[in-house]
């Protein structure tokens, strides 16, 4: 018996397109249902939050923001930072950046602290906020199962159509699209447990103020949670420019403008001391 033997090519294309749509929905629904629950534990520091909220890139941004805000590093050209003071107390990752010395790009800084990122990731796995690699791999494969089934089905029909001399170009395009969706789903799979996702979500809800204008001591956590965009309009905007430049051509495409006058008014009660 030949499956779909009575279907015309256009019938099958409509059927396949509908299944592809359902497959996309399933590929995003499956991880939400099968993700490891994990567990909530103690309060998280900014480094852990950064890794949990935005991965290793975010972790590097948070470390650089912390050092920049405290005056340990400063801008050096378009896309580098240079160590200004080495005597600033900092975490292990911050110390590694300061010890590296010379002007660093964001990518170089990230490579220097990658080992520290791995240590924090291991701690988050033990805490139940990140999945273990084997759990994550299993979830990735499960997430793309709908696409795999669909691909096999489409390939079967394409071969059959090809054998009968039917045009199968559109079906090949849909097969390619299926493979691309599967690759995206596989690569962009969230490695956090449900508890890890909830922990970040709760922190974001509680931290709406620092997303607008963090105080110096809050800047690393703000960057950890929301990215370097929260530094636009602050005195630490060069950290955001560093990320932007690193994200463009590699040799820098924009420029930071920390010298903007900005504006503002202030006032204090009687001599600034209040009543």
């Amino acid at each position: 018996m030949q499956l779909f033997s009575s279907w015309t090519g256009s019938d099958f294309l409509i059927f396949y397109s509908a299944l592809l749509l359902l497959g996309c929905m399933a590929a995003w629904w499956i991880p939400s249902q099968l993700r490891d629950a994990g567990r909530r534990g103690e309060a998280l520091d900014a480094d852990s939050v950064a890794l949990l909220a935005g991965g290793r890139d975010r972790f590097a941004d948070a470390v650089l923001a912390d050092l920049f805000v405290r005056g340990a590093i400063g801008p050096s050209g378009k896309d580098r930072v240079a160590v200004v003071r080495r005597d600033i107390a900092s975490g292990a990752a911050g110390k590694a950046v300061l010890e590296a010395g010379g002007p660093l790009t964001r990518g170089e800084a990230r490579r220097i602290i990658d080992l520290h990122a791995e240590r924090i990731a291991a701690r988050l796995r033990r805490s139940g906020l990140l999945m273990w690699p084997e759990q994550h791999t299993r979830l990735r494969w499960l997430s793309i199962t709908p696409f795999a089934v669909l691909f096999v089905l489409g390939l079967y029909r394409q071969r059959a159509g090809n054998a009968l001399g039917e045009p199968t170009g559109l079906l090949l395009i849909l097969l390619g699209l299926t493979a691309v969706f599967a690759a995206i789903r596989f690569v962009r799979s969230d490695p956090r447990t449900a508890a890890g996702i909830a922990a970040v979500s709760d922190l974001k809800t509680k931290s709406s103020r620092i997303a607008r204008a963090p105080r110096p001591e809050e800047a690393p956590l703000a960057v950890a949670l929301f990215g370097t965009a929260v530094l636009v309009g602050t005195p630490w905007e060069p950290v955001h420019a560093l990320r932007q430049n690193a994200g463009s051509s590699g040799d820098g495409g924009g420029s930071s403008d920390s010298s903007s006058d900005g504006g503002g008014d202030g006032g204090g009660g009687c001599g600034g001391c209040g009543g």
Partner: protein, 181 residues
């Protein structure tokens, strides 16, 4: 929300700025000058009251958002009300207005004050300030300071997006006309 219970806040909350029987009262004037609705102006005035409370209680200089600053500017124009009643009887302190003298150092100082003001607001009123009136730093220090006074009696203003859409439509219409004619 948990507004403070002290006497200072009670006095500020109960205070009506300017003559109550004026046909163009403080809120209506604030709305007209900023092209806000009356309801929006009333919300800004409420936030201005909170800002004044923080200015007296925070223990350091505070910086308002641009919207709150507009209310403050207008209140300062009602100079008798501000200096003879509001400051001495309501705040029981002089609240001076200090515009920036420009430059990156001042920009940094005002940013830090703005961030500290938002933190003081959250601590005093039990919630983060409303984002529509107390915006993100990028808007407060990069966009809002570029505002200018415009008399719209002989001019029109459209947003860049609308202007771009209109320009695009005109270009398409011109191209189509050229093809048809």
């Amino acid at each position: 929300m948990s507004p403070p219970c002290d006497d200072l806040w009670q006095r500020i909350a109960a205070y009506h700025i300017g003559p109550a029987d004026a046909s163009l009262n403080f809120a209506a004037r604030l709305a007209r000058e900023n092209r806000w609705s009356l309801a929006e102006a009333e919300l800004v005035i409420e936030e201005y009251r909170r800002f004044c409370y923080l200015a007296v209680t925070a223990g350091y200089e505070v910086t308002p958002s641009d919207a709150v600053d507009q209310a403050w500017h207008l209140h300062l124009i009602y100079s008798r009300d501000y200096w003879e009643t509001f400051c001495p009887l309501v705040l029981k302190a002089d609240l001076h207005h200090g515009p920036t003298s420009g430059g990156p150092v001042e920009a940094g100082r005002y940013y830090r004050q703005y961030a500290a003001t938002l933190a003081a607001y959250e601590a005093a009123f039990g919630q983060a300030p409303p984002v529509a009136i107390w915006p993100v730093a990028s808007r407060r220090f990069k966009v809002d300071p570029r505002g200018v006074r415009v008399n719209l009696s002989g001019a029109s203003a459209v947003s860049r997006r609308v202007a771009l859409a209109l320009g695009l439509l005109a270009a398409i219409a011109g191209w189509l006309t050229g093809r048809i004619m």
